[in-house]
Symmetry: D2
Subunit: 303 residues, 4 copies
């Protein structure tokens, strides 16, 4: 297939969706994003990367980082994390506390905020510097040594972090955090505030598309293990819209409130799309539409 022409077609057809929705409002640092932006990149398992639109413009990865922090923890620590976090879709908004209380401080999955805090907490225990480990890993996989954390976003997250602080203290009250709440929050806000472009994220996503093989050819984890991360992305990767995303797009994916979404076509390629306008469930309107068009054109859903 000619990737370049596919992306051009997608970019053309997705125009009506660009600018719809609204930027994430919970922190000032994201609220002013330009809604008209749109970019998309595709990285082939063999290494080619192509893009369209604003595909080289960095944005805040936000929750997309959760897919990679989960991968790092599973790679270093094995399946133990599943004693502290479930892997079932949540049926609740990403920052809900209701489920936590009904299930004694065990988050339903690693991609809702509470679950991601547990994963970051574990990564902090394993590395002593969770955000640093994330940055190093993403630099290596995206082959971009210039990736950095946007400290203004970190500061904004911290200043408006009461909901996440509530989640962290709540889990701590059940004994489900290993590190001080303040440390976990800092590293969590920092990993969410890494700036990457569609190009960077598509390249980083190859580790999922290549069944666990890293950019340098080494193996992050076994084929079986990476398939399981793909499974968690498909069932839980787009907040309370995972069922709809599976229905329309049919690919493992992970979205962030910065407007980015990564998606994986196992064995073929990884994708990243970005447009800041979000729907009511926190996913990029144009991003979901673009991935829907992509799988309609290519027929490459996992189903």
């Amino acid at each position: 297939m000619d990737y370049r022409s596919i992306l051009a077609d997608v970019a053309s057809e997705v125009q009506p969706y660009i600018g719809r929705g609204q930027a994430a409002q919970y922190i000032p640092a994201l609220a002013n994003a330009e809604l008209g932006r749109f970019g998309m990149a595709l990285a082939d398992v063999d290494g080619d990367v192509v893009g369209v639109g604003d595909w080289e413009v960095p944005f805040s990865v936000q929750s997309i980082s959760k897919a990679f922090s989960l991968a790092l923890v599973l790679a270093r620590d094995g399946e133990g994390i599943w004693r502290r976090v479930g892997r079932e879709p949540s049926g609740n908004p990403f920052n809900s506390l209701v489920q936590l209380e009904h299930e004694n401080g065990i988050p339903r999955n690693p991609f809702i905020n509470a679950g991601a805090l547990v994963v970051t907490d574990r990564l902090q225990s394993l590395t002593g510097d969770a955000a640093g480990a994330m940055l190093e890993f993403l630099r290596a996989e995206s082959e971009n040594p210039h990736l950095a954390i946007d400290q203004a976003v970190v500061a904004s997250e911290s200043a408006h972090g009461d909901r996440n602080a509530a989640l962290a203290h709540f889990m701590a009250s059940y004994g489900n955090l290993e590190n001080p709440v303040a440390d976990v929050l800092h590293h969590y806000f920092s990993q969410c505030s890494i700036e990457m472009s569609c190009r960077d994220l598509a390249l980083a996503g190859r580790v999922m598309a290549r069944y666990g093989v890293r950019a340098d050819g080494s193996r992050l984890m076994s084929r079986r293990e990476i398939k399981r991360i793909n499974a968690v992305m498909l069932t839980c990767g787009t907040y309370d819209a995972a069922g709809d995303f599976a229905y329309r797009v049919g690919l493992p994916g992970k979205s962030g409130v910065g407007g980015g979404i990564i998606a994986v076509v196992p064995g073929r390629c990884s994708l990243c799309v970005w447009s800041p306008g979000l729907d009511t469930r926190g996913n990029s309107v144009a991003g979901v539409a673009a991935l829907d068009l992509f799988t309609t054109i290519t027929g490459w859903s996992v189903f």
Copy 2:
């Protein structure tokens, strides 16, 4: 691949799981199932069907029927059903009323009981005889004209049907049923009480594996539409264990409290496994283990 030898390997390795769990207890007609039973069948998209163990013993399909009733309604009526039922995983037990109340009588997906009642209600409106339409369809796809409804199970379901009656009346109170509650319940209990063997169900599942092509070569629905049913099965097909099933097995599947599970390897084959011992979430213990072993041996998860 030599299907027969794969199934033999699975049947051998799954032995420790057979007899674990307990049979469905909510109706006497299922409570006395023999826990030691185990069968598995695989139907190739080209038509071959092989099996192992009790693969030709009929059992009560129960919720497996929900995958087929959804397919029939989508085939006849298009996407309109999604105005009356969602397609998100539920995060609640299959017969919960809590979510219904929070979301004004719209069930989260077509595979929890409330959602399946809506689908049956629609099929009743479309056909005038929902259970009859289901039986006819399943007879055709399984190429077994002897399939029948076990009226003793229907009677037992009805006699112990207060929870389903509560769900149906509750949705009716929101105006989300088109037919009288008693009719909907009767056709729902009847479709759940169809008796089929692993062989029958593997053959019937080919319509999903063959991307919508029926046993007689005609097309039930488009490739795109059948992929969407597979997506709903993967995200919602195994009650509140869909995330775990995706993680361990990685195939679209639908389970029933009779102890059966169907699974689909898109483009390759359909599977059915049966063993009556259920785990706490209502899925066959040995059935899930067998499918886990199958995808481990073959590497055929969708991820």
Copy 3:
């Protein structure tokens, strides 16, 4: 105190509230009530009864009947009913199913619909004719042999009774009903459809104000027991507004969606007020205002 002049003052000051809110909308038989109606009656423990406005116009007692059915069951059967229904305020709308599911089919109190169904079910077991026993009791206490059940309201309740049917079937699924669902619903709808005036209800309420002594001088239950019914009325008698009613009015009371409210000043008098316009929580706007004015003027709250 001069009761007549107090009621006249209340009736005068409550004018701005009459006509506010809306009539109960869930059944046609109540939806067309005249919002401008207002009546109030006071029955002294010594037997005098005075009234103002439409105090002799019959209306549908609806949930006010729940206070009397509870009294009858406690009088005949003692404390056993508390194994099947709690006595805690609910924190949920009167017809919610959520709590039932979280607490295994045990309603939180006898005044939410689910709890009242359990009480009616028990009264049916005790008498063989729950609605008939209620009618006979209320005729005796109100000294009005002409009280009757409005069969048009019963029919309307039945025709729109899906929510109550859901509650009843749900409790039956937990084994918390002794009689068939259809029978329990019929007697419940019938007791709710008794027509009484403010005069009738104020007289009937004397049994609470007189610490258990009936109209004929016989004793329904002990002083201690009737105080407990007053306690349940105060904490649970006005749906999810019981705290607000206790705060503003400070008397045990029980409201109905027909627009009536009874209240008890223990040892002094019983009251009934009626005006069909309901607030969002199902209590008569002018009725609550009138009782608030009454206790402000008299200082007779229990606190």
Copy 4:
């Protein structure tokens, strides 16, 4: 009545209940309380105070302080607090977050932890030193200038305060706190850690029994206002057991996990009972039993 002999009778009959239940386990400073302790005091509105058992032994007032902080805020600030906290019974444990999320950060009543944090927050805004204001007020009402805050309990509360921190951050995320979370928590933990005896608390409770008249004869608030605090105590004062407490005891009361309970007989007297063994809902087992016996002997329930 001879108060001394009534208390002696109660103390004698309550013996079987002393030692039952367990001390509050959530902080070490309370977990080692001596379960065999029991004290009870009664303060007449005319000033006499009598007691029995350990009635002069100080204990941690804990949530009993919430009744007084509410009174102080209402006295200084009027009804405005009701825009930030409801007054309905909660139907949930005292430290639940579920309701907060469903009702957008507005706690259901001022006696669950979340609501008490809002009241303390407001008192902090009004006084600049909420805990100091509480201490001063309680010293004046109990006529005991030696009352003090147990700093070891404050430290223990802080060290194990994750649940309360979660509640406070959660409300802050909805904009329902005026002061920094850390300040609110400190003053809340401090007011809960005041040490008082049954004698002290019975004397302090006279302000409710005397319809708002303070120990020095000045008026804290109007008769009408203090009746409303009594109403809130009756409907919400004993966590999720308020209905049961109203049923059995029938008096406005407020319990604390230190094992104390105050109760008010409006116009007559105030009571305090203490015994550290708690039931599963957080109320003193022997304390509730003693108050139940007291109202049975005296007939002094408000109903």
